[in-house]
């Protein structure tokens, strides 16, 4: 027991040492300059730039809303496929979950780049990236929720001679619908955060402004953008949590 603990500790220490060794920049950071950057960004904030930023924020929210809605619909068949208690074939839920995991693991920035290269830069690509990526997590949550549906109620419905579709419509949908909405809302929350950075690669939203100002090194503008993103994320977080508490 003690020997294992020593072994694990040494392993972790070695891993950390090796990892840290790989993190070197060509030039050491200049702390004086960083202080100056922070001063330019926030003291005082360049409020005259705020209207432009708010337009970008609006676009980010629109991207997140539409992307989430599309994902919430597209995730339905995946959720049903991956739920163990609905499966006719034992292999299907396994394949379904694997697929959902794969989608979830695929970074949305990469999806965004792919869509930009094929349909051109702009919010359209952002919506697609968010929609596809979100299927992974929403689908997984759907499946797990369906799996907790009371089996007795389903059997009772089956005993009345209801068809599979009728069982689904009357036994499962009413029970899971509020939770499904809650999952979508939660994902929307995360997607607002994502949609605010997608613009860094050209997929629309407030990130587009961040990218432009970053290349120009315009710190006062960047400061306003960062403040706006943080406030938006906090607000959406707050209201989404409130709404979800109501749904529960």
């Amino acid at each position: 027991m003690r020997a294992w603990r020593v072994f694990y500790t040494l392993l972790v220490v070695a891993l950390v040492g090796w990892s840290l060794g790989g993190i070197q920049n060509s030039a050491p950071p200049n702390t004086k300059e960083i202080g100056e950057i922070i001063r330019q960004m926030f003291f005082p904030p360049k409020l005259s730039y705020l209207p432009d930023v708010l337009t970008g924020i609006r676009e980010s929210i629109q991207i997140a809303a539409l992307g989430t809605a599309i994902a919430a619909v597209l995730a339905l068949p995946f959720g049903v496929l991956a739920a163990r208690n609905l499966a006719r074939l034992a292999a299907l839920p396994f394949v379904g979950k694997l697929l959902l995991n794969a989608i979830r693991t695929f970074p949305e920035i990469l999806l965004a780049i792919a869509f930009i290269k094929s349909v051109g830069p702009g919010p359209f690509a952002g919506v697609l990236a968010i929609a596809i990526h979100s299927i992974g997590m929403i689908g997984k949550l759907y499946a797990e929720r369906i799996e907790t549906v009371d089996k007795g109620a389903l059997e009772a419905l089956a005993a009345t001679g209801a068809s599979q579709l009728e069982i689904f419509r009357n036994g499962i949908v009413p029970e899971v619908l509020p939770d499904f909405l809650s999952f979508a809302l939660y994902r929307f929350d995360l997607n607002v955060r994502s949609a605010s950075v997608l613009g860094l690669v050209g997929a629309g939203g407030v990130g587009t402004l961040l990218q432009i100002q970053r290349l120009g090194g315009n710190w006062p503008e960047i400061g306003v953008i960062v403040i706006a993103i943080v406030v938006t994320v906090l607000l959406v977080d707050f209201f989404s949590a409130k709404l979800r508490a109501k749904l529960a």
Partner: protein, 254 residues
């Protein structure tokens, strides 16, 4: 109830319509673009029996390793830095004023998207893995800190009382009664933040913050699409494996 359901549906439909207008998204537009999307994905794979561009493999391997170094050190140091957070941001260990302040700071830290932070850091620290490391460190600090504080708030307070009764200080109560109870949780949260960081580290390069994303960015700008395909396949495969392994490990911890 029925009426409220319809009202909600109407509001959602309104928001979506507004969003579709703002983003220029529509189904005809989508179907018009589908061939282009298909065409792009086809370009990622070698055609006409041509091989994968294996000459890029050394660079890919090097940057992939850099990705993991960033993710590992950021997760570990971020988590370690988060360890004392329950002292200021959990109801169990912090007084009311300190708690309110601690939670506010924690929420603020967590609300900055990691790529925004990486962008800023890359712009001030210069291109390279340092920016990525720091950005993900802050992320791990935030997420592990929050989860740990939540965990600490659900522990059994009995042992704390016992240590207080024996003359232990508040710090000793935290260290000898609270932390031993959340040890496995802490490890699980560290692993969880590592999973997210591996994914995040693989795209940091697109803003110049080191890792495999750097290769991706350069391949894209040189329009070497099969190389892009190779990078994506390898990255995705390795990230998927690590993610699955870490998830399995977490399942065994709790």
């Amino acid at each position: 109830m029925k009426g409220r359901g319809w009202l909600t549906a109407a509001i959602v439909a309104g928001v979506l319509y507004w969003s579709a207008l703002g983003t220029g998204f529509s189904l005809p537009e989508l179907s018009e673009n589908l061939p282009a999307i298909g065409e792009f994905f086809r370009k990622l794979f070698p055609s006409d029996g041509k091989p994968w561009p294996t000459d890029a493999l050394p660079e890919i391997t090097k940057r992939l390793i850099e990705t993991f170094r960033i993710a590992i050190s950021a997760s570990l140091f971020g988590s370690l830095l988060a360890l004392p957070l329950p002292l200021i941001a959990s109801r169990t260990l912090a007084g009311k004023t300190l708690y309110t302040f601690g939670r506010a700071v924690l929420n603020l830290v967590r609300s900055v998207p990691d790529l925004v932070l990486a962008t800023l850091l890359a712009a001030s620290f210069g291109i390279g893995p340092m920016a990525g490391f720091l950005a993900l460190l802050v992320f791990s600090f935030g997420v592990v800190g929050k989860l740990l504080c939540d965990s600490v708030e659900t522990i059994d307070p009995g042992p704390m009382e016992a240590i207080a009764a024996a003359g232990g200080t508040r710090f000793q109560q935290a260290f000898c009664a609270v932390f031993p109870q959340v040890g496995p949780d802490f490890l699980a949260y560290t692993l969880y933040s590592f999973e997210i960081n591996v994914r995040a580290a693989s795209v940091l390069g697109v803003v110049g913050a080191g890792g495999i994303g750097m290769v991706l960015q350069s391949s894209l700008s040189l329009m070497k699409y099969t190389q892009v395909g190779l990078v994506i396949l390898i990255t995705f495969g390795v990230v998927f494996l690590i993610d699955s392994f870490s998830t399995w490990l977490r399942g065994r911890l709790v």
